[in-house]
Point group: C2
Chain length 92, copies 2
């Protein structure tokens, strides 16, 4: 999917891993990258966006930020677990 | 300051403390509440906004989300520490 190619999912690795992934996307010629994260990784996603924008791709701007609630179906639990999510769109 | 009265700063307490603070602001008649957080508390701020919006003040919507970088002047360090920040505006 074209949309996924421009998306970086932020998880538990170090911040700079994801910064590098975003910068690589921009260097390949794309004008827009989406940074997605859930739960505790949300803070890290904001760090990634800020570091990319301030240090590496200074012409990139925050085009949009959306927050939402996702349901995780954990097989051990009867009720689905709810987790917050963020989607930050950087564009230049 | 009028702006501060409608602002809830999210820190290290449990999520529901801040949810209650935001709901209280809305119940006092304000139509707009700002939720602010820095660093690791950013994830919690998103949780607060999502729980308020989905469970307690269902007519409230996310009006704006801004991210930024703040510099903390720690007296022990010569260089200021940089920390990411978020500001979520809920309005009904």
């Amino acid at each position: 999917m074209a949309a996924d190619e421009n998306t970086v999912y932020v998880g538990k690795k170090g911040v700079m891993s994801y910064v590098l992934a975003v910068v690589t996307q921009f260097n390949r010629g794309t004008n827009q990258v989406q940074i997605k994260a859930r739960g505790r990784a949300i803070s890290r996603a904001v760090d990634v966006a800020e570091i990319v924008r301030n240090r590496f791709v200074t012409e990139a701007q925050v085009k949009d930020i959306a927050i939402s609630t996702e349901e995780l179906n954990d097989q051990k639990e009867k009720e689905p677990t709810k987790v917050s999510a963020i989607e930050i769109t950087l564009a230049k």
